[in-house]
Amino acid sequence: MSTLLEIRDLTVRIDLPGGPVFPVRDVSLRIGPGETLGLVGESGCGKTLTCLSVMGLFGRRVSVESGEIAFKGTPLDPKSRADRARRARGMGMISQNPMTGLNPVRTLGWQVAEAYRIRTGSSRRAAAARAVELLDLVGIPEPRRRSRDYPHQISGGQQQRAMIAMAIAGEPALLVADEPTTALDVTVQAQIVELLSRLQRDLGMGMLFVTHDLGLVAEVADRVAVMYAGRVVEMAPAAELFARPRHPYTQGLLTSLPFLDDEVERLSPIDGTVPSLRAMPRGCAFAPRCPHASEICRTAVPDLSGAVACHHPLAVRTEAA
């Protein structure tokens, strides 16, 4: 399979007054054309920084320490202007809070048209017409009228739809969706998830779908990468990950969640809390919370050979359970 996006051993550095921290470490991910890769993990695990690395959207204190991101087979240089243009043409991003991505002093139509012109180089007139079509495509009612509205005049769900219209304008090959539905109500979330899946199918986009919601990622993603404390700890096809988690952390996340049709007396949480960036354990970051941890876990970082970064991966269960 050809590769749309490849991240190789990415380490991200943030320079803080107390010295540098490394919130993303040795992350490698691959997305094929038309494929959805789910990226799940708890807050602070490095999901969003991984997205921003792909988009090349770093603040002043943030930099790529090592590793490489290749788009359509060619590495991207974070400093090159040509590569920035390549990103802008080939990638679109949706963030959790649509208001951070929308310009409050421009109309929706203007913003979608701008995104379209940047990606396609078309004329203003053509872009304005296309913007109305795009607003229609993402399910905004009365798109012609709405295209003259400003972001604050529409609801959160409609704002997220407008963000999606901007992100897919000009049909980018890759869509990066960072918690696209977290800020929305569940009935609206269902609509947005359906919309994203439909657009992806129709436009053949690859998608990096970031969420903390394990249930949601099972619905959306083909493959899922689980991140913990800056590293990918498990990678598997979505169905397999849920049926047979192999990393103790993945299993812990799954048993922490109540099921709708399962009556258990007590949930099985993961003991303890996520280590802070300044006090990362020397070996496996999950070792202090892991019931299976042994001496080697405390000294050596397990690598993601195959599908699971663990010294004691859980046995693949047979269908008995």
């Binding site: 708890e42 009935t187 996340l253 922490s256 109540p258 709708l260």
Partner: protein, 359 residues
Amino acid sequence: MSAVLAEATEPDEPRPLLRVAGLARRFSLPRTSLFGPRPELTAVADVSFDLAAGETLAVVGESGCGKSTVGNLVLNLLSPSAGSIRFDGEDLASADDTRWRDRRRDLQLIFQDSRSALDPRLTVEAQVAEGLEIHKVATAADRKIMVAAMLEAVGLGGDLARRYPHELSGGQQQRAVIARALVLEPKLVVCDEPVAALDVSVQAQVVNLLRDLQRNLGLAYLFISHDLSLVRHVADRVAVMYLGRFVEVAECRDLFAAPAHPYARALIGAVPAARSRRGRLVRPLRLEGEPPSPMNPPSGCPLHPRCPFATDLCRTELPALRPRADGRSVACHHAEASQADGLEAQGGSDASQPLKVFP
């Protein structure tokens, strides 16, 4: 209304810990024109329910539906525009300040945002002791013992008790809030999204703690949440709220097996299939559009502009929350049709092909 009648006809029935009848709360908003009337927003309309000692009633709904307002009204943090709240047989809305101070011990609150609920200048120990001091519970020496025991029970014993809030993780802060609420041995605790701000792996710890404490102390919980799989796990009964009204009240198990109100069905159907072990029980219902603004609610049934079952009747007449033979109450003109339609797929849905659920 029916609850009040039931009390009159069956005097032997045990008195509920909390009885809420016809509760409403309206807010006046700033004038939009100089001489125009002040617009009003109805946050809660005609809400009635009973809550027994030791029971958990969950209130679920989307943001802005009025569920937190119900919690605040029960705690008398807001005063109702209409209706009554009887706690232990006593009407709290009319109680004077002194009486309130006494009763407040029995009614406690756990907020979503534990960081802002804690005093940053007090150690955990001191925060938990504060309530006991205010209510003059026991002697100073006994208070110390009670605080230590409570902190031990929520897993903040030893060194952690002498820390300040900023030195604790989010989960530990929420434990401190819980300890502070429960050290007074309340009868009713309003939990307003108690774990929504916590990471999944820590959520389960706090949920287990809340259940253990309920069992040991016989607490009643009014559990306000938007997380349905969590509600399924903790609640005895569930009230589904939409635009300020209860639209369905049912035993937890019944509701999740076969929701009757189209909105309840939409909420349950919106939970990803992977959150059920055997795939979906209920065929999801797609609602059109988004919740309308409570400032300008639709005529008739508040759900009708979004509901596929809506008829002319729904557009004109507000359905009452009627008790049904199966023990639940539903406010819908077409509940039977919606419920039957939702069950069509039983046994046939497949979690491995979840996207097909939206035809």
